[in-house]
């Protein structure tokens, strides 16, 4: 490999970042950076041969866009999407007393309020367990034996009419008053202490994520070229929880817009997809996916479904995954524990670096990133402070530094590495395969691994959102500079929240064209066509020295261009929306707007336990059914579920999904006084309002992050590698969690529950359906994966997922650490059984366990150790989440 004979003169002065007057920074931005890469003065007289290089624009033209903005490529998904958390949601918006000294403050009271409402089970569950021993929910005589047990029947009756939301005029009974005076201090403190800490922690993580969503580094949109030149596949996640991985076949055309071929095939995963990496090496197309605690690798066949190759499970959150550009199937994974592992099909997992400390100076971030180098056995490991080599042949902690946030690169104070990427590919590119890209929040650095610590190029990217995506493309012409795409996460280029970026250069086009696919945070795919416009002579007609900042002569023979101006290249007047594009947008919007605008706002439930327990006999059957349905669907129990609906009762307002046919059907039914029957039939068909489903789904997403913890401790009794699906410790959503814990207590009560509690429980359980009675057991243990499937196919909700041959379901973990995903689907094989090589990244370490205990100790010390309780599964939550 050639190395430039002459490097541009520069100081090499080690030191901390932020020495802004260090001489190295004199060549900081724009054209001076570009000067850095010009050939240094030659031995002959420079005046004889002044270095006039042809202007970038004259030589290569400029990328132009067909449309002023990206166009929707696929129709919007069925899932509604709520905009994500914004700073407004967290910050205090009240009136500030001293406007001059206004400061941003997090609105704790509001957040706490939300939390108590949305997650009452978490907030008050432990208290319930505390009180449980000494309170009786309404048993009549047995409680007298034990004077320590107090009957709360009347207290509950008093509370019955109590309207929450802090009405100051609410009537307080003496009993309530006494109770609050006696218990208030103790109970209040507990809640305050516990929640205060947890809320602080949660707000902090939320706020940090708001500022920099580092989990999405690398982007979640991948392009896999197909066997034929104009075919390929887009790989991207959709769904509210980003847990459905889609493989959409696409046909490219040199002139027309790209076409989606059929519906995407999809795979349901157990966690949100954070990063998708694709690579084609030696004819093998591979897709690697990073989720929080799992990484998986698929091989794409030209026909047939993707073939799963490997699933890795991590104790600590994975922060980066990359596929080797040299050896098929090799991948590097790094986690928050500071470990970097290399996995290869032949040799399995190999840890090549582990250091919880940062490289250069101390930085609290545990973000790590790994990529490959020109040597297949040498990797780069990045943290926020720098980039270091790690040799797989001699694993150690002391590889050489490739980049350091410091004075050598004239970094600013506070500058941190946000993305590190190896630019080399096995294709014969006109670029040395030794280049690495490092992005910070201010600048972009280009480094050659043969000349560590001295950046070849520094360019101020000026992005107003974190640059977390980068892609180097093949040259549009032979010997033309390579376009380098740099994507900010939040809209500097597009005013869109980019989750992924994939650029494709379709072959055989008359003029060089680039298709830019973008994935929005809502899971929608957009595209924009860019084409290389030959020089417009007006630009370079003036002086001979109109080189553009993009003309970066690299290594004397190769060039790269930082096309910062992508997407904004065109003058506003030059491009306008063509009728076809407008029609496309209109179609997309029409589909999008089919989602109902607003649903009636949620009101606190007003039914009471009193009504529930002392129901008349004739109503019981109805109540059972209603309760059962509500629990199965994971929604709130409404008044309408408890009492029979009057025959002429109109259906609730928030059922706007029925098509016109349904409406007439319903009208017809009510005309014949069969409205209630019709309505029941509809409800059983689980045609749920979308909003509810999405809420469920969010819960699924939240709780799925706990399930790895559950799997090891909570359900340790499930030992068989492939348990029967209904026994699956599925990621639980809140309501079915309750049912499950009831279920558990039903099994255990004989052994562990004090006798005086049994009657209470019996009363409860009498109201509930038995788990094996009739058809209700199916929805009760319905797996979240099949629920989310029903979201994508609203018409076929009742069809179990196994009937869909295109859906592979990879979900909840087994207690064994090695079996990360397995499939319920009879059509798809279990990854575990198919792949004996699969193994967990780390066996559960003692260190991890201790962390886990300390995190939960605050909750665990609360519930009494003597009795399992209704809320028995609560303490095992690793960390409560809040729905803001």
């Amino acid at each position: 490999m050639d190395f430039p004979d002459n490097l541009f003169p520069t100081f090499f002065l080690p030191g901390p970042p932020g020495l802004s007057d260090s001489p190295a920074s004199y060549l900081a931005p724009a054209w001076s950076d570009y000067m850095q890469l010009l050939k240094p003065p030659q031995t002959q007289d420079p005046s004889i041969n002044p270095q006039h290089e042809a202007s970038y624009v004259t030589k290569w033209g400029r990328w132009k866009s067909d449309t002023p903005g990206p166009l929707p490529f696929l129709l919007p998904g069925a899932d509604p999407w709520d905009p994500e958390l914004m700073s407004q949601d967290l910050l205090f918006r009240g009136r500030v007393k001293q406007p001059a000294r206004a400061k941003a403050t997090i609105d704790v009271i509001e957040q706490l309020n939300h939390f108590l409402w949305d997650h009452g089970d978490i907030a008050f569950g432990p208290l319930g367990m505390l009180l449980q021993e000494n309170f009786n929910l309404g048993e009549k005589k047995k409680s007298r034996k034990n004077k320590m047990v107090m009957n709360t029947e009347w207290l509950l009756r008093d509370l019955n009419g109590y309207q929450p939301k802090g009405c100051p005029w609410a009537h307080l009974s003496t009993r309530q008053r006494r109770f609050s005076l006696l218990g208030g201090t103790v109970l209040g403190e507990e809640v305050e202490n516990l929640l205060g800490g947890l809320l602080h922690e949660e707000l902090e993580t939320r706020w940090k994520r708001l500022l920099l969503d580092e989990a999405s580094t690398g982007g979640a949109l991948g392009w896999v070229p197909g066997a034929k030149p104009h075919h390929g596949q887009l790989v991207y996640p959709t769904g509210r929880a980003h847990d459905q991985l889609n493989f959409q076949k696409v046909k490219l055309s040199p002139t027309n817009e790209p076409q989606a071929l059929g519906d995407p095939s999809h795979i349901l995963l157990r966690g949100p997809v954070r990063q998708v990496v694709t690579r084609t090496i030696q004819g093998e197309a591979l897709v690697a996916v990073r989720s929080d605690h799992h990484c998986a690798l698929w091989k794409l066949e030209h026909r047939g479904p993707p073939e799963p190759l490997q699933v890795l499970e991590m104790e600590k959150e994975a922060t980066g995954i990359s596929l080797s550009p040299h050896l098929p199937g090799e991948l590097a994974v790094c986690t928050r524990s500071g470990a970097v592992c290399l996995w290869s099909p032949q040799h399995g997992l190999q840890q090549i670096h582990k250091d919880p400390e940062t490289f250069v100076f101390k930085d609290p971030s545990s973000w790590r990133w790994a990529d490959f180098t020109a040597h297949p056995r040498v990797l780069t490991v990045a943290d926020r402070t720098g980039l270091r080599f790690a040799d797989a042949r001699a694993p150690s902690d002391c590889g050489e530094l490739l980049f350091r946030v410091g004075a050598e690169a004239s970094c600013q104070r506070g500058e941190r590495v946000l993305l590190a990427q190896y630019l080399g590919t096995p294709d014969p590119l006109p670029l040395s395969p030794t280049l690495h890209l490092v992005c910070t929040q201010f600048s972009l650095y280009l480094l050659d691994e043969r000349l560590p610590l001295v950046p070849l190029l520094k360019w101020n990217h000026g992005l107003l959102s974190p640059p977390l995506l980068a892609q180097l493309l093949p040259p549009p012409y032979p010997e033309a500079p390579l376009p380098l795409l740099l994507g900010g996460l939040g809209g500097h280029l597009r005013m869109l929240h980019l989750s992924g970026l994939a650029a494709v250069v379709p072959p055989g086009c008359p003029s060089p064209t680039m298709l830019l696919f973008q994935l929005s945070a809502a899971g929608d795919v957009f595209y924009q066509r860019l084409w290389l416009q030959p020089d417009t002579s007006s630009e370079s007609a003036g002086s001979p020295s109109t080189d553009h900042a993009e003309d970066l002569g690299l290594n004397s023979h190769s060039q790269t261009s930082a096309t910062s101006s992508l997407g904004t290249v065109s003058e506003p007047s030059a491009v306008s929306w063509k009728p076809r594009a407008v029609a496309c947008c209109r179609r997309w919007l029409k589909t999008l707007l089919q989602v109902p605008p607003t649903l009636p706002s949620w009101t606190p439930p007003t039914f009471s336990q009193h009504h529930l327990r002392w129901l008349k006999e004739e109503n019981k059957g109805k109540v059972q059914e209603g309760l059962r349905a509500a629990m199965a669907e994971g929604r709130l129990l409404l008044q309408g579920d408890l009492a029979p609906l009057p025959p002429s009762d109109p259906p609730p307002a928030h059922e706007p999904f029925g098509t016109e046919d349904k409406l007439s059907e319903r009208l017809e039914a009510s005309w014949e006084r069969k409205g209630a029957i019709w309505w029941d039939g509809q409800r059983d068909g689980s045609r749920l309002p979308r909003k509810r489903q999405s809420r469920e789904k969010r819960r699924t997403q939240l709780s799925s992050s706990f399930s790895s913890v559950r799997s090891t401790s909570d359900f340790s009794d499930v030992n068989s590698p492939l348990p029967h699906p209904p026994k699956t410790p599925s990621p639980l959503h809140r309501m079915s969690e309750t049912s499950q814990s009831l279920e558990l207590s039903q099994e255990l009560w004989v052994k562990n529950i004090p006798r005086e509690r049994r009657q209470t429980l019996r009363d409860y359980l009498a109201v509930l359906p038995s788990p094996d009675s009739g058809n209700c057991s199916i929805p009760q243990f319905q797996n979240p994966s099949s629920q989310s499937l029903s979201t994508s196919e609203p018409g076929k909700c009742s069809v179990p997922c196994s009937q869909n041959p295109r859906t592979q379901t990879l979900f909840s973990p087994l207690p064994e650490s090695y079996s990360a995903f397995y499939s319920q689907n009879p059509n798809s094989q279990s990854l575990y059984s198919q792949n004996p090589n699969s193994q967990s990244l780390y066996s559960p370490e003692p260190a991890f366990n201790s962390v886990f205990h300390s995190q939960n100790s605050s909750i665990q010390k609360l519930p009494s150790r003597h009795t399992p309780s209704l809320a028995g599964s609560q303490p095992l939550r690793k960390k409560p989440r809040m729905g803001f």
Partner: protein, 440 residues
């Protein structure tokens, strides 16, 4: 909660670019943070109107620069000049530098800009504040050089060098050295020109003498400045080469060798492969003993095993009398082929094929085993896969043959093996390409 709120307040109080030292330092200082906060909007005033307009103006300029709308950018820059009067002292201090960076970028690219405009702008900007005089002077000189105006550049550098303002900071001292070094480089150019003139003079006597004297004076000026800069850690390829060339011309071989040795082996300097190459080439020209040459390249081999000069190194080692050198010769070849940029280097493959044969004849099979042991788990996939065999055979038959031969030795395959054609990973290349050969 309080601590967190304070931290948050720290965020907000922070200026867009400037961090105040007393604030708690956040994990990462993010330039887009202030936008986040500002968008929440409703707490108190956002700042003065002045600050708002300048920051909006700056955004417009940056946007125009990215879009290559130089005219638009220059119009906005005229408005942006008001930051020079910002009441915030920190911003006021930063302003000239920002304006210079933006302005020079615009003038560098603007179709109607010319050297005069650029120089006028540079001269104005130099004298706003004292901080930037040297930086701007140097950039100005580089711009002039870029436009082929060597004399103007020289004058400019001279002027900058003689600039004095109070006590110089450490960084300014270094910058002065760099300016002097560039001046030295221009002196070297003149020296180089004079040298060709003198050598072409037929006449002897006074004229030649005067020219030689003149040349000497340029040498003295250049050498002083160049000598100074190469003592400071950095990448000084051009300066070192020029300096060494002059020293060689005046017969100071020891001095030249010393300069090159220091440049290559000083630990304070970055690990620059060129430094080793310069030293090697100098020693080679000097006809230094082969052991010496080998020791120089051995160090380079450790730093950059993929360097193209490693093939030459291999030949050196092969010619050597020592057995350890012969052994290293194999390792050098294998190390070159480890790198993804060298996989199709025919020379390296043919050297390897030849050398493997030689080694096995020389009964040093254990060397091959040693070199192979660390590679056997990935070379078959990396070099000898079925896919690559097919590809190489299609694109370059000689390469395919060399690789087939090598794989035969390394993988220990016997000829006439049964043909197995399958697209599995790690299929040895030898089988497939050999069978292709047989099919011919």
């Amino acid at each position: 909660m309080d601590a967190f709120s304070e931290e948050l307040m720290g965020f907000v109080q922070k200026d867009n670019q400037v961090e105040a030292s007393k604030d708690p330092v956040p994990e990462i200082h993010l330039p887009w943070l202030s936008q986040h906060i500002q968008s929440t909007g409703s707490h108190g005033q956002k700042g003065t109107n002045f600050a708002q307009t300048t920051s909006i103006c700056l955004n417009f300029i940056q946007e125009a620069l990215l879009k290559h709308q130089w005219q638009r950018a220059s119009e906005f820059l005229q408005c942006y000049l008001q930051t020079l009067e910002d009441i915030n002292s920190q911003k006021r201090q930063m302003a000239p530098e920002i304006i210079w960076k933006l302005g020079s970028t615009i003038l560098y690219n603007h179709p109607k800009s010319n050297v005069e405009t650029f120089s006028a702008f540079a001269d104005r900007m130099k004298n706003i504040g004292v901080q930037n005089y040297l930086k701007i002077s140097l950039q100005h000189a580089l711009y002039l050089l870029h436009n082929g105006m060597v004399e103007d550049a020289y004058r400019n550098l001279n002027q900058a060098e003689s600039w004095r303002y109070g006590e110089m900071s450490a960084s300014q001292e270094k910058l002065i050295k760099l300016i002097q070094a560039y001046r030295g480089l221009l002196d070297y150019y003149t020296w180089s020109k004079k040298r060709t003139e003198v050598s072409s003079f037929d006449m002897d006597g006074f004229a030649t003498n005067a020219a030689t004297q003149d040349m000497h004076s340029y040498f003295r000026q250049a050498s002083v400045n160049l000598h100074e800069i190469i003592k400071i850690p950095g990448v000084w390829d051009t300066f070192v080469k020029s300096y060494v060339e002059m020293l060689e011309f005046y017969g100071d071989q020891d001095g030249a060798r010393q300069v090159l040795t220091d440049y290559a082996y000083d630990n304070n300097f970055p690990s620059n492969p060129n430094a080793h190459i310069y030293l090697y080439k100098f020693l080679k020209k000097e006809k230094a003993p082969e052991d010496k040459l080998i020791s120089v390249l051995k160090i380079l081999h450790q730093i950059v095993p993929s360097h193209k000069i490693m093939l030459e190194f291999h030949m050196l080692l092969k010619k050597s009398n020592k057995e350890e050198h012969h052994k290293l010769g194999l390792e050098v070849l294998l190390a070159i082929l480890d790198f993804s940029g060298c996989t199709e280097n025919i020379t390296a493959w043919s050297y390897l094929a030849k050398y493997l044969k030689q080694i096995i004849k020389g009964k040093h099979r254990e060397w091959v085993q040693e070199g192979w042991s660390s590679r056997k788990d990935w070379w078959p996939t990396f070099h000898f896969s079925y896919y690559l065999a097919k590809k190489n055979w299609k694109e370059n038959r000689i390469l395919a043959l060399k690789k087939a031969f090598t794989s035969g030795i390394l993988l220990g395959k016997v000829k006439h093996q049964k043909i197995i054609l399958s697209s599995g990973v790690g299929r040895p290349m030898f089988e497939s390409s050999f069978c292709l050969l047989l099919a011919e």
